[in-house]
Every structure is written in structure tokens, then in C-alpha cells.
Symmetry: C3
Subunit: 264 residues, 3 copies
Amino acid sequence: MINVDDLIRDLEVIREQSPLIHNITNYVVMNNTANALLAIGASPVMAHAKEEVADMVTIASALVLNIGTLDAAWVESMRIAGRTAKEKSIPVVLDPVGVGATAYRSEVCKQLIAECKPAIIRGNASEIMALLDTQAQTKGVDSTNTSEAALNSAQILAVQTRAVVVISGETDYITDGTTVETVKNGHPMMAKVTGMGCTATAIVGAFSAVNKNCLEAATHAMAVMSITGEIAAAVSKGNGSLQAHFLDTLFNLDETMIRKQIRL
Amino acid sequence: MINVDDLIRDLEVIREQSPLIHNITNYVVMNNTANALLAIGASPVMAHAKEEVADMVTIASALVLNIGTLDAAWVESMRIAGRTAKEKSIPVVLDPVGVGATAYRSEVCKQLIAECKPAIIRGNASEIMALLDTQAQTKGVDSTNTSEAALNSAQILAVQTRAVVVISGETDYITDGTTVETVKNGHPMMAKVTGMGCTATAIVGAFSAVNKNCLEAATHAMAVMSITGEIAAAVSKGNGSLQAHFLDTLFNLDETMIRKQIRL
Amino acid sequence: MINVDDLIRDLEVIREQSPLIHNITNYVVMNNTANALLAIGASPVMAHAKEEVADMVTIASALVLNIGTLDAAWVESMRIAGRTAKEKSIPVVLDPVGVGATAYRSEVCKQLIAECKPAIIRGNASEIMALLDTQAQTKGVDSTNTSEAALNSAQILAVQTRAVVVISGETDYITDGTTVETVKNGHPMMAKVTGMGCTATAIVGAFSAVNKNCLEAATHAMAVMSITGEIAAAVSKGNGSLQAHFLDTLFNLDETMIRKQIRL
């Protein structure tokens, strides 16, 4: 179960230390994720040139890899950055956007997991299930796309990859293969804002920069996302205003708001 | 003349079926067009890697090609995706952003039209006129940049390319070369939000996914855009708030709002 | 000291002439900078293909180069566009985003300055200081990152490069190496909106298109940015709403608002 004191401590550390989060992410969400990282108090940097990603990740406190608008050149840079991060023990967070939709995405995810050893992987139910299918030792995975089946996949994937695996959804599940944490806040309108999942991954990156316990870091990040989205959606008329209210709420999120809103 | 019942039926089908719209579009507008497609009830995907565009377009219900920030690699992917879509009878919608500004844009548009056979082409008056100049058989086109001259160009272009051609402007014109439909809603402030035209093209993609009659699909899409923009502009102080209000309005657009606002 | 009459004249000329500003800029901020240019009355174009940048910049009134998400292909296009602009006496404005963070950024900035001879360079204190270090003749630069040290760097850099150099910060400094102008408006929340600095550079581009005196153009642009941000921040709850309010305020900015708000 979420320890709210620890969550608040992590949030405060992010705001005090303003960790640099290196993002190699997709074009659609760059602006939103940069603003979300600024809103929570972290420092975002977006950089993808193969000439500089090793240098950039070396000065960062976490690396976020997001394949949403991948191509060969970007994948090469993700690999360079991810391998460098691994060598230097900088946590890598992977968002396997759309994996399963094309063979190329599956192949790239398999490669990134093998080479970069992500500390945390965050996706929706179908992405996590598709991701497990890309791993060699897959067996016994229910093909129905329910949360339960996805949770089973997530646990197997966590054991196979030694990553904490996050499934975003109405309830979020976070697991290291053994323990399963749940986050019950959130709002359906969040799914109507493009890149809300990608933003969650970036926020996971921020928490992983200040808390070495990846299960805790990912759980705290998902709780902050869900609480923020829930508060913001309550005053939003549609996905346009939600995008702005989400950032404003995250910017102002404090202990009182968290304690009042969280559902344990 | 617009059949409002048919327009509302198309909108309902989009919301029921949530068709996947594959966009290979420009960097400036990706976030907005993804959010607009989500707001209307469609499912956007942005993917441009040559390794995957054929796979991605095959699972989509429409393909939107937008050359706003084109380069050689992106054009190659547009051609692969467009040819695949043509083979599989998936409608291709082309937005020739800035055609006429450089020789390269004209050349690329000529190639995309020849190879991908777009079902619908949408641009502003000067783009449509410039586009006609890229076609070999051009003759008799008035060089003045008025709506009337553009409409003449649009009709010739429609006949030459067998595409429905849309001219966005104070009044929108939609033609298959013979019939001309008009959309009279809209607001001048829409032109001050970057990518509002690109969003129109994406919405045309959504309607083309649910209505095989391209003249109807394009007309309904432009009516929805113009009505939405007009309602949103009435409560917006500038282009910043219009961007958010446009999405909120589209998210909530219903039969009552449409019937009240539409000018036939 | 800022001549407010001249500032207002420049703003009016931008709105009358709507100069075309060619931006080769980063993915994170493209939407915002395009909307900011539209809000002030200019015409933005984003184009980066090496096949067309020379043609595009030739029809533009200013070129903005921003290395925020640089890579080898984009740098090649920046060089082509920048050299063409120099030959045709079109002002080039350089934003050396993140220079100093990686060796690659330093090398690219050195090359762009040498080849394209920017008329104006805009960065924050640490970027301007890092930029001076990339120039061969550097000497006597205080290594502390204070505004005073940065101003000293800016003056040396201005002399070496013959560019007007702008340091953004709580107080903005604008210098041609001899004269130093200051802009005292602004709000701390502006730093929490991603790409606010990049937007400043784009607005500098718009002013440089209508005023050949680069010291004046840059000073007027920074004053407009700071006044707009200050007015917008006063009604914003966080960085989400500030992004929209900034555009709305810039869209509506007039002589009365400027005269009331400016601190000389």
C-alpha cells in the first residue's frame, strides 16, 4: 500500500533538487512532458543527436525512452543513451508506446530492454501484454485484454526483465514481479488528452531520480499523476482545458491536496 | 447543400467506431491534431518510420499526409504509406501545406498525388491554386488569388486528380469538380491558431473513415470544424485560449449545438 | 533606455506588414513559437529540409536558428539557411539552447556563428557564458554564473561576433558590446513554461525583421516578452494557464498596456 509520507517526501526532494531528466521521446508529447516535469519541479532536457546523447545522459539523474514516433536514427540514439545510462547506474524508464501495432515496435522494444535494462517499464494493458510477447520465454499468457490478464503479464515481464512494470488504467498496477501496488485515483477524461501516458512515464522518471526503490518511485509517480488528473478533470470541460489544468494542478500540488484526494 | 442529418450520423459513427487515423504530419501541429481527433472520438496514431508505416496504415481507417515540415526521409515514408493505403482502398487525405513557397514542396505534392491518389485534398486558396500549377495539364487559371479563382482551380484540380478538393477560407468550398458545396460558418481568429488548417485535414480524415462519399465526408468535416471554431472563438480572448476552447467544444459538440449554429 | 514610442512603432509595423519569419527550431517549442508569432502579428514558417531552406529563407524577413533538439541533418540545414540569409542580408537570430551541456552543442554554435554571422544571439546567463568559451579569443571571463559575469561575457561576445547579445533573466541585458540596455519586466513563473526563452528568440526575430537597428529590435522584443509575461502571469495559476494567457495577452497587447506596465 502507498505510504503517503514517503510519497510526499519524494515530491519534496524533486522540488528541492530539481533533477535533470533526459527524455528521448516522441514529437507529439514533447511540449507537455517538458511542462509536466517543470510543473513538478524537475528539469527536463530533450536531446536525441547520437553525437551528444551519451554526454547528456551522463549529467542527468534519469533517462526516459519513449518510442511513440520512433525511427531508425532515434532508436540508435536511444540505444546509445540507454547503454550509457546502464553503465553509469542512471535509471532508465521505458515507454513502449504502441508496441504490438507493428513488428518494428516489438523488435525495437526487445532490443532496448535487452541492451538498456530499464529499471521501470510503463504502458497500458495492451502494450504490457504485447511487450511480454516480444520476450523469448513467454508462456501461459491469457490472450484476453483484461486488467487481470495484463497484471499476470506484467508480473512475468517484471521477473524476466528485472524491471518494475507499470500498467496504467482505471486502476494502475505497479509490480516488481512479487509485490503488486495499486493506484485507484484518476479520471476517464485523462485518456482523451494525447500523451497523458507519456507524461506519466516522464513523471516516473522524475521519481526514479530521487528514490532508488523503483517500486516505490513508480507507485508514487502514478499516484501523483492520478491525483493531479482527478483534481484537474473536475474543473475541465474537455481535453483542451484538462491539458492546461493538469499542469496548473501539478504545479500547485501539495501535501494537503494529496492527503485529501488519495484513495488507498 | 449540407444534409444536417447525415452530418450528425457521421459524427455519431465516428464516436461509436473510434476509427484509427494514421497521420504523417508536421511537428508543429502533432499535439493539436492528435487532441482534435481524440476530442471528436477518433483514435489518432502518428508514425513515420519507413520500417513500419505500411504495417501501421494497414490497420488504420484513413491516412492523413501533411507536408508542413517535410524532408526527404518523411516524404519517402509518406509515399510508402500512401501507396499501401491506395492498394488497400484506405482513403488518403493530403494537406499540401505551403505548396508554392518552394520548388521542393511543389515537386513532392506532384509525386504524392501521382503515386498515392488522394481521395481528398485540403488547402487554403493559394495552396490549391499553387497545386494546380504543379499538374501538367494546367490551363486557363486566373492568377489572382481570389476565392472565385481558387474555386475554378479547385474544380480543375478535382477533375485532374479525381480527388475531392477543399478550399478553406471565410467560406469553405468543397468540390468533386462538378458539385460545389459551401460551408459558411467559422471565425477569423481561427487563422491565428497555428495548425488550424492541419486540424481540419485530420478531421476530414476522420469523416472519410466513416463515409465513403468523399464529397459528403469532406463537407461534414469542414462544417464541424467551422461550427466548433465559431462557438469556441465566441468565448476566447486570443489564440491561446481558442486552442483550448476549440478542443473542449469539439469534445462536447452535439446535435443541438450543430443545428443551432449551422448556416446553410 | 528603452524608447517606448519606438517600441510601439515597431509593434505596429509588425502587425501591418506581417513579416515572414523562417524558424529552424526545436520540436518542443514549435507550436508555441508559431502561435506567439501569429499572436504578435507576424507570419511563422517552420521548414528544415536541406532541399528547400535556401528557397524558404529567401522569401523571409528574418531567420531564427534554435539548436534545442539539434542533430546532424538539422545543423546542415541551419548552415545552408544561415549562409543564404547572410548573403541576402536577412537578419539571423541564434538561440544557443543548452550550449555548454555537451561538446557537440558548443561545436555547432561555434560553426553557426562563424558561418552565418548572426545579427542577434539570445540565451540565458549560463548559455551566454558557455558560448563565449567556444570562441577562440576568450580571456578574463569570471567563472561564477552571476548576471554581472554574464554581462561581461555578453559584451566580449558581442565584440567578437559583431552580434547584439541578449541575456534573459530576472533583468534582461541587451548589448552590442558598448551600449547595455536593460529590461526589468517579467515574472518568475515564465521560467516554468517550456520554451519561453525560445519564444523570446522568435519574437526577437519578428522585431529584427522590421527594425534594422539590432540593439533596438532586440530590446523592444525583450520588453514585449517581459511585459506580456508579467501581465499574463498575474492571472495564471500555473504554467499550464500561463502558456495560454501569454498568447492571449500578446494577441491583445496595445500601447495602453505597454505604457502602463513598462518599468524603465
